[in-house]
C-alpha cells in the first residue's frame, strides 16, 4: 500500500437544511484510504454513508472540513478520469440499450474512441449481459441493472472505485462476480470505497471497516493485516475435535476461541496464518467441510453501537 492516501477526509461535516430544520448528516469525520485498499462503510440507514461518498465524489460540498482525492480537489477532471462510481439508486435511461448506454459512458469517461467497441463488448460480456446487450434497459431486471452499473463503474480500470450497495438485487453468481471484480481491482492497486449493509460481504472484501452512526465516525475496524480475523470451521459429517483444532491453532500461532454451536473458532492474524491453520488441520487428520471468515465480529460491533 502506498504511503500517500488516495482518499483523505479530514474533519468533514455536512449539514442539510436551515434553521430548525438543520440536520448534521456528517459530523467531523476523519479517515483515509490508501492505494490497493478496500475500505468498507457500515452503519444504519441515515448514518451518513451516502453523504460521505457524495462528498468524496464531489457531488456535494462539505459544510466544514476537507476532502482530497488523489491529493487534490475531488471535482478536478484529472481525478474524475480515474474514478468509477456505482450509485445506490440506479437511474438509467429506459429506452436505450445496454450497449448504447455503455458506449455513452465510455465516451463520457474520456476513454479512447478506438477502443470503445472492444472495451464495451468486454464489459458487457464480463457482466454476463452479452445476450441482453441489444435490449432496452426498461426490460432489465434489478439485478441486471446492477450488473450494468458495475460494468459502467469499472470501465477503464478506475484507480478509485466508489460502490454504494453494489450487490443489491443481485443473484449469488452476481455477488461472486462483484467480489471477484473488487478483488481483481485491489490487486491492481485500486482503492475501493464500499458502502453496504451486507456485513458478510464487507467482512469478505474489506481491509478496514468504518462504522458510521448519526453522522459520526464511531470506529475503524481492521479486518486484514495486523487486526486479523476469526475463522469459523465446520467438520464434514461430525463436529471437528476441539483438541485437534486447539492444537492446530497453537501450532500456527493462532488463538483457539470458544466454539459457536457445531462451529469451531480460531483467531488468526491474516490470510497466511489462515492457510497454515487449514494445512495443519488437514495434516492432523481433520475433515474440514467449511472454513469461513466470521462476520459475527462485525455484527457484534454493529449492534454494540446500536445499543449505545
Amino acid at each position: 500500500m502506498d504511503a500517500a492516501p488516495v482518499v483523505e477526509v479530514h474533519e468533514l461535516s455536512r449539514a442539510f437544511g436551515r434553521g430548525s430544520r438543520r440536520r448534521l448528516a456528517l459530523d467531523g469525520v476523519t479517515l483515509t484510504a490508501g492505494a490497493g485498499e478496500v475500505l468498507g462503510l457500515v452503519g444504519p440507514n441515515g448514518a451518513g454513508k451516502t453523504t460521505l461518498l457524495s462528498c468524496v465524489l464531489g457531488l456535494i460540498f462539505p459544510t466544514a472540513g476537507r476532502v482530497r482525492v488523489f491529493g487534490g480537489d475531488p471535482c478536478a477532471l484529472s481525478a474524475r478520469r480515474r474514478l468509477g462510481y456505482l450509485p445506490e439508486r440506479l437511474v438509467f435511461p429506459r429506452r436505450v440499450t445496454a450497449r448504447r448506454f455503455l458506449q455513452l459512458q465510455h465516451a463520457l469517461a474520456g476513454r479512447p474512441r478506438a477502443r470503445r467497441a472492444t472495451e464495451v463488448e468486454a464489459a458487457l460480456t464480463g457482466a454476463g449481459l452479452g445476450v441482453a446487450a441489444g435490449k432496452p434497459l426498461r426490460t432489465f431486471s434489478r439485478g441486471m441493472l446492477q450488473r450494468l452499473g458495475m460494468a459502467m463503474a469499472t470501465m477503464g480500470e478506475p484507480s478509485l472505485l466508489v460502490l454504494d450497495e453494489p450487490t443489491s438485487g443481485m443473484d449469488p453468481v452476481g455477488v461472486r462476480w462483484v467480489a471477484d471484480l473488487v478483488g481483481w481491482l485491489r490487486q491492481r492497486g485500486a482503492t475501493v470505497l464500499l458502502s453496504s449493509h451486507q456485513l458478510d460481504q464487507v467482512a469478505r472484501l474489506c481491509d478496514r471497516v468504518a462504522f458510521l452512526r448519526a453522522g459520526v465516525l464511531e470506529r475503524i475496524q481492521e479486518l486484514r493485516g495486523d487486526g486479523g480475523f476469526v475463522m469459523r470451521l465446520r467438520g464434514a459429517g461430525e463436529p471437528l475435535s476441539p483438541e485437534l483444532v486447539g492444537a492446530a491453532a497453537a501450532s500456527v500461532g493462532g488463538r483457539f476461541l470458544p466454539p459457536d454451536g457445531p462451529a469451531q473458532r480460531v483467531a488468526v492474524e491474516g490470510d497466511e496464518m489462515a492457510a497454515d491453520l487449514l494445512r495443519a488441520l488437514v495434516d492432523g487428520g481433520a475433515r474440514v467441510a467449511e472454513a469461513a471468515r466470521e462476520t459475527a465480529q462485525l455484527e457484534s460491533l454493529f449492534f454494540e453501537g446500536e445499543k449505545r
Binding site: F16, L59, I60, Y85, P87, V91, G110, M152
Partner: protein, 244 residues
Amino acid sequence: MSALIWATARELLFGGRALILLLSPLISAAFVAAMEMATGTGAGLPSDLATLALTWCRELAPPTAVILGAGVIAGPLRSGEMVLWAVRPITLSAILVARVAGTWLATMTVLLLPWGLSLPLAQGSIPTAELVAAPLRAALASAAVLAPLALLSVLLPLAGDALAYVGLLIGLALARENVSGIAHRVLDELARFLFPSTGFVDELLTSGRCSLEDPLRWAALLSLALLVSCILLSRRELHYARSE
C-alpha cells in the same frame, strides 16, 4: 461532449417525447379558438373582460404550452441520471451545454423537418432571403435572451433562475417605453420573439397555408423554452444530488 449532445437528441427524437412539441401549438391554438367561440357567442361574459381574457390567452397560451412541453422533454434530468454524468471527467457547464444543444437539435429537427418537406408545396412564394433571415433573426434573438439569463442563473442559484426570467421580461417591457430608434427595434423584435402570435396556426388550419416566418419564430420560442427548462431543471437536479 458531442456524445452527450447526440445521446440527448436521440433520446428525445426516438423516445416519443419530442412529439409533445408538435402538439403544444395545436393545443394552445385550440384553446384560443374555444375562447373566441365563447366570446363570439356572448356566453355571459362582460365583453371587456372577455376581450381581455382572449388577449391574455392569445399571448400567454403559446409560451405556457411550450414551457410545459419543455418540462416534459427535460424530464429525465430530474430523475438522477445526471449524477452519473457529473462524476465523469466533464464539467457541469459542458453537461448543461451538451444537454441544451441536444434538446435544441431534437426540437429543431421535429419542428423544421415538416416545414422543410412542405416547402416544395409552397409554390415558390417564399423569398429566398427570408429563408435565411428568419432563422438567423431567431438565433440571434435567442442568444440575446439567453446570455443574461444564463449568467444570472449561474450567479444566483435556484431563485435567481426565476428572477432572471421575470426580470428580463419586466425590463424588456419597461425598456420598450423609453427607448427609440434601433434599440426600440431590437427590443420590439425580442418582445415579438417572446410572445409570438398563434395566428400562423389559425391561418394554417383555415387556409392550409401560412408564411414561414411565424413558424420559425415559434421554433425559436421553443428553443428558448427548452433552454430555460434545461437550466432550471438541471439546477434542481444538482439540488437533489446535494440533499441526498
